[in-house]
């Protein structure tokens, strides 16, 4: 058993492939940033629908949130990759194909938009009616109110929650390897097939993700706390 342990903790093989693996980790980051942008935009749109005065809009927003918050990431990625292009193709009468990267970004973006929508909504609803009345009394339009009164406060209020969701999103980017986006896990499985030594490779992959996520999550939390206090002061 101790031989296996030494083998598992030996970083030599992992280090040998560091360039390929680092490129994989960069792909995790690309997917993360693109999906986060999609999730924030669509999440905001869904949240605005959910607090809309007109009931049909609210229904659409609620449906969006319930569907995407309850959907497993993996099935959504597979669905977007294999089903959505076919449906779109039937709609416009042309062959449509998504690259794995695009599918991953769309799927993760939509799934996490459900979570972000709820965070945005909680933030929006926590804004005192008086602020909105004051803005209207100054003659601001709805868009100006959204951009200058609502969003700045919402962003500050949702930061801690949003940081948690960004961390979950980053963790979810590991499963994009399953539709052949060349991320770190994909590269690890490729190298494993070549070297036939899963022990050190998977152990160090897990340790790498642990260190990256632990450090990034910690510093994001500290940053957001610092920023909140500085602005609130």
């Amino acid at each position: 058993m101790s031989d296996a342990l030494i083998d598992a903790l030996n970083p030599a093989l992992f280090w040998e492939y560091r360039l390929v693996l680092l490129r994989g980790l960069a792909f995790n980051a690309y997917v993360f940033f693109a999906a986060a942008a999609v999730a924030l935009l669509i999440g905001l749109a869904a949240a605005l629908l959910r607090v809309n005065r007109a009931r049909p809009f609210r229904w659409v927003g609620t449906l969006h949130v319930e569907v995407f918050r309850n959907a497993p990431d993996y099935i959504m990625i597979v669905w977007v990759h294999f089903v959505l292009p076919l449906l779109l193709g039937k709609l416009i009468g042309q062959r449509v194909e998504f690259s794995p990267f695009v599918s991953a970004v769309i799927a993760l973006g939509f799934v996490y938009s459900g979570y972000f929508a709820e965070t945005f909504r909680a933030g929006i609803q926590s804004i005192p009616q008086g602020h909105l009345d004051a803005a209207r009394a100054c003659g601001m339009g709805e868009t100006t109110i959204l951009v200058r009164i609502i969003l700045p406060q919402v962003v500050r209020r949702m930061l801690p929650e949003a940081v948690n969701q960004f961390v979950s999103l980053f963790k979810a980017t590991t499963i994009v390897s399953l539709i052949a986006v060349p991320d770190l896990m994909y590269q690890v499985s490729m190298v494993t097939q070549q070297e036939m030594r899963p022990l050190p490779l998977y152990t160090w992959a897990a340790l790498t993700y642990f260190v990256v996520i632990y450090l990034v999550a910690g510093s994001l939390r500290r940053l957001s706390e610092h920023w909140r206090q500085k602005i609130y002061a």
Binding site: F82, P198, A205, A206
Partner: protein, 223 residues
């Protein structure tokens, strides 16, 4: 519509079989998560010498993605510990371990939220510290953390789709098999997605209702 009948309705036996495997795995993982989370949390709070180990394990489980952990448990553990010896076991063990990290932190927050006075009241009527835990601290904690536990269970159900990657024949794997046999992904994958969304929705609604019911029964507000 005939594809729906041919590929989904006529294959309902297979899909149902997959669904039972999914449910089985989720329940086993959930049980492991609760027991493991409680143990990790109690060790962290009360067993001084083992505290760093518990903290390290909790942080490790929480900060590694479930897919990475699944692969790690599946490929590395059998050689390292000679166990788990089947894909099915790897699947639920990995799911359970990940959630036990989260639940440990949830339990800790719950335990620390129990007012000091309740514990002291227990001691003052002559309870031992084990009795105080069993009869005062744990019941109160379970009530306050019930919503988070339900939430964690839905996370387990969602992550359980990944065990199909290590060829555990769950709903996801059966669906992918059908896709690979017929090359008609639209109906099968849509139906599978709907089943999963409905399952998670059902679990979270039922869990919420149960948690609310208990909280009201014990006189806590349902917020």
């Amino acid at each position: 519509m005939s594809n729906w009948e041919r590929l989904v309705w006529n294959q309902r036996g297979l899909l149902w079989q997959g669904l039972t495997v999914t449910v089985e795995i989720c329940l086993l993982a959930f049980a492991l998560a609760i027991v493991g989370g409680l143990v990790l949390c109690l060790v962290r709070l009360h067993v001084r010498p083992l505290r760093p180990v518990a903290v390290a394990l909790i942080e490790f489980f929480r900060a590694t993605p479930i897919f990475v952990q699944l692969m790690w448990v599946n490929y590395v553990w059998p050689e390292l510990f000679g166990w788990p010896n089947s894909f099915f076991t790897s699947g639920w063990v990995a799911l359970g371990l990940q959630s036990s990290g989260y639940l440990a932190e949830t339990f800790r927050a719950g335990i620390e939220a129990v007012p000091r006075g309740h514990r002291e009241a227990g001691y003052s009527v002559g309870m031992s510290s084990f009795q105080v835990y069993r009869r005062i601290v744990l019941p109160e904690t379970l009530l306050t953390v019930a919503p988070s536990i339900v939430n964690q269970f839905t996370v387990i159900v969602k992550s359980s789709t990944l065990v199909s990657v290590i060829t555990v024949p769950d709903l996801m794997l059966q669906a992918m098999k059908l896709v690979n046999v017929w090359y008609e992904p639209i109906e099968v994958l849509t139906a599978t997605a709907i089943i999963y969304i409905a399952l998670v929705f059902l679990v979270s609604s039922a869990g919420k209702a149960l948690a609310d019911f208990h909280r009201r029964r014990f006189g806590l507000d349902s917020a």
